[in-house]
Symmetry: C2
């Protein structure tokens, strides 16, 4: 027997309709790629997104067609989130920082029919244009007068498309399980794989992520997503902000401290999301200039572990609570959040701080499991580490076009590729990536813990701990180090420094000094390459 409740599919268009009807005048402030500041509001964004949907429909775009964006955080990108998904097409957000071959690959793989891009990214688009024959229209996110010259391509102006499309378009209704957006993972091995979100997963995720123990979003907030909108749904903010009627502040492509600070201060930003390096940079800037982070109350930090000193400086110097989070493209992206529970607040101060530096606990909707080497659920002891699995309505079940094959286990759990511990308070801590962990004599060594210890040496610029083959122990750690410019550092000096910081059997068997590390386009060390290179180092 069914309930007798109204049947409204959870559609992305309902978010911007809600914002326009109830928070129509709330500002959305953007820094455009020319550096100028642009102001609009939700009522206007809804209208323009509707015109965009109309423009797409009239060009033959249908439910399920893929439309790419190669764009920074601006109001026009937000309009694409609603115009494209709202009409039933799939918004494919492409990361402009990928290698050109990767961008080409994923646009071809997605079979994108239209590419919207910011004017400063024309060189990328021109360089791959001959290879992406699937794209029928190249549309620059600007006014006609700002469209750059191109010998190669016929470029349309986004504003011309919007102006030409009529307002007589009603958001269509369709199944909430319909695909809404597509984001490729930038793996360190193999080709990128596409995660295909649905309207349903996006909305349940936005509702769960914005709860008080999550982003705690309110209509009184001014929210700046520093994390790019093209990363994993922009940490849900393009959806969650209109949902609660929060002001949005979009920093465009200016990621320098002065530009970001100007917006944080001028637009009274109360909540922001970014990787730890952004916060380190802003702390250095405000420290140097003697400035305060003004209205900022809390920030969400993810991507890599938050250094304790950064968390402390944000709190002590600026009154900003840093919330640690963990997630990935495949998890929409929120997996866990380090907001306190009564049990955490009851801990002595140093334990409490350590607990809140972990990646945190699941909101309602997500379930996690840490498993041990035998595949059993690991004890919640904060010590035992093993592969992390996750499950829930906003977690991927597979990849676009079946890439990577069957992904989930028999009980529907997704393997995150991370190695973690969890404790009796429910807090999870990432200790490594599955493929990077070093298996020594049947026991596991966290490469990340070894690297973090090495990175705390004042002469170390970069550190990578990788497994090398060992005849007795199977694998033993080798440490690869890039010293800071002009610094001399010896193997023995470093090992002596590390000895008191870890179990004796975790100490690297060798240290290699190099000038530079092999890196991915998104700034991660290519540890797979190092491992290949040093695999026979200890023989």
């Amino acid at each position: 027997m069914y309930g007798l409740m109204q049947d409204h599919p959870l559609l992305i268009s309902s978010l911007i309709r809600h914002a326009a009807a109830n928070h129509g005048g709330r500002e959305v402030v953007s820094r455009l790629v020319d550096g100028s500041i642009h102001r609009t509001n939700y009522a206007t964004i809804e209208l323009r997104a509707r015109r965009l949907a109309h423009a797409l429909t009239s060009r033959g775009i249908r439910l399920g067609d893929r439309i790419a964006t190669l764009a920074w955080n601006t109001h026009r990108h937000v309009e694409c989130f609603y115009g494209v998904s709202g009409m039933g097409a799939v918004l494919h957000t492409v990361n402009p920082r990928l290698f050109h071959e990767q961008i080409e690959y994923i646009i071809r793989h997605a079979e994108d029919r239209i590419l919207f891009f910011d004017a400063d990214l024309l060189p990328i688009v021109e360089s791959i244009a001959p290879q992406i024959g699937c794209v029928e229209h190249f549309v620059v996110l600007c006014e006609r007068a700002q469209v750059p010259k191109s010998e190669l391509l016929q470029l349309a102006a986004y504003e011309d498309w919007i102006a030409a499309a009529g307002e007589d378009y009603a958001w269509p209704q369709f199944d909430e399980r319909t695909a809404s957006s597509l984001c490729y993972t930038s793996g360190t091995t193999g080709n990128p794989k596409g995660v295909l979100y649905s309207h349903r997963s996006t909305l349940i995720h936005a509702l769960a992520a914005s709860q008080r123990d999550g982003f705690a979003l309110s209509s009184l907030d001014s929210v700046m997503p520093i994390a790019p909108l093209f990363h994993a749904n922009g940490w849900s903010l393009p959806y969650a902000c209109p949902m609660v009627g929060a002001k949005m502040v979009l920093p465009g492509n200016r990621m320098d401290a002065a530009s970001l600070y100007e917006l944080i201060s001028g637009e009274r930003v109360s909540f922001s999301v970014g990787v730890p390096t952004i916060w380190t940079m802003l702390l250095a800037y405000t420290g140097e200039k003697g400035l305060q982070l003004d209205a900022l109350e809390r920030c969400l930090v993810a991507g890599t572990a938050l250094p304790p000193a950064v968390q402390k400086a944000l709190k002590d110097l600026h009154g900003v609570t840093a919330i640690h989070a963990w997630g990935m493209t495949e998890t929409s992206p929120i997996g866990t959040l380090s907001t306190p529970t009564p049990e955490v607040l009851a801990l002595p101060e140093d334990q409490r701080e350590a607990e809140l530096l972990k990646q945190g606990r699941v909101p309602y909707g997500a379930e996690i499991q840490v498993r041990d080497a035998e595949g059993r659920v690991a004890p919640k002891d904060g010590q035992t580490f093993g592969p992390l699995w996750i499950r829930g309505p906003w977690i991927a079940s597979g990849y676009f076009k079946g890439e990577g094959g069957k992904v989930l286990d028999a009980d529907g759990w997704f393997p995150t590729g991370d190695v973690a511990t969890w404790d009796e308070l429910g807090f999870m801590k990432i200790t490594d990536r599955t493929k990077d962990v070093i298996k020594s004599g049947g026991e596991w060594i966290s490469s990340i813990d070894v690297e973090n210890a090495a990175m705390s040496h004042p002469k170390v610029a970069l550190a990578a701990a990788v497994a090398a083959f060992h005849p007795k122990w199977d694998e033993r750690p080798v440490l690869v180090i890039v010293p800071k410019d002009g610094q001399e550092l010896s193997r023995d000096e470093l090992l002596e420094f590390l000895a008191p910081k870890m179990a004796k059997w975790w100490l690297p068997d060798d240290v290699v000094f190099v000038r530079e590390m092999p890196m991915t386009a998104t700034g991660k060390i290519l540890k797979a390459k190092l491992r290949e290179q040093y695999w026979h180092r200890l023989e």
Copy 2:
């Protein structure tokens, strides 16, 4: 094309599973009907709810069967919320304060197969037992030793059922549109009608209601539902608290100020929900005893309009923010909430306070419309009043067994039966019930506004403004007054008092003084009866 995200139905059992796994030790404190305090936690509640589900299954209860509760706010009632709905049966919460004939009617109408009830309610159960042959088991929510004697009925102890059922029961998975619970409206006319909630509507509602601009629920909260769990899903708290891991404090059947205060103070209650009279009573009690409402931060007030003096006293004397809300059984129940937006905070103080005394704005998910006399959408001017309509995934589409026929209009809107205004800030204010509004010469007079003005006279105990037939104006207001004990009040004295408080044409044409009002079982004035009685008063 569908998204490639995991398929997890939104089921009520997932809430208690989440709470047990992530907030297993969080307390649930109850005052039992014998006055004693009982402590348990979410891990135990989940286990016992699973045993209850097992007990029901082994007695042949199947998906869609109705199971009634006649019970106060205790942990056992919460267990029924999960055990019954979690196994796929329908939890029918019956209001013990209804007239016995109404209770009998709705249990027969629902065809309840089992009745769980609190021991003190045995007299009601015995009085209707001969008429409710559908009920196969009468189960008292207590230990075996506490089961009261009954000549008439064979009574089982809830604790015996729980103890006998094994733990080897896994929560079943089924369609999220499956009916989960049933609550009858206590209309002032006609038979009660059943609202049939679904798992999906209940979960989307809980996610939306607990947002920061709603209940703002956190795992750090200690939440006391003073509003009964049998009213409209207990204002979602039996679902929303486990969802975020908030502590629950359940006051049982002791609604006196001393008992409630003891729990608010002793259990550090930070959030509570109740009707205005509860808060008036608690303010009087704390004032008299020189007490503070301690940890209480915010309270949700609904049912009827919150007197400004109560809102002010809560804030000024106790630092408690009163959030005004509007809803009804058919709306799960949240329709609107009076949490501030930036535009409201920017108003001068007196306007801001007036704005926050309105019933408020919709959270994401709900849509409202005020329509004018011609059925067009009324202007958002805060003046024009007309019927209020509502739409959304947690709003009823009809009533159980088709009672009341087709309810929604062609565009899927539900007629609330309320008359309201809305303003440009999105805030809605209830001005009357559709059936009580007085239509004078084509214009509408709010009976509630006239009554509130009369109630502000120091000698008035109760006031009701009803329409009487008028040969020229069709209808004109007649005011029915119960003076306070021992007070003398004349017609002219009252009309003079009212004159400066309303438009001249709103002034009642006559005043009738009576000893008592006809009332419903839930304490509402039966205005339909008064209208019938005084319809020819002005001829």
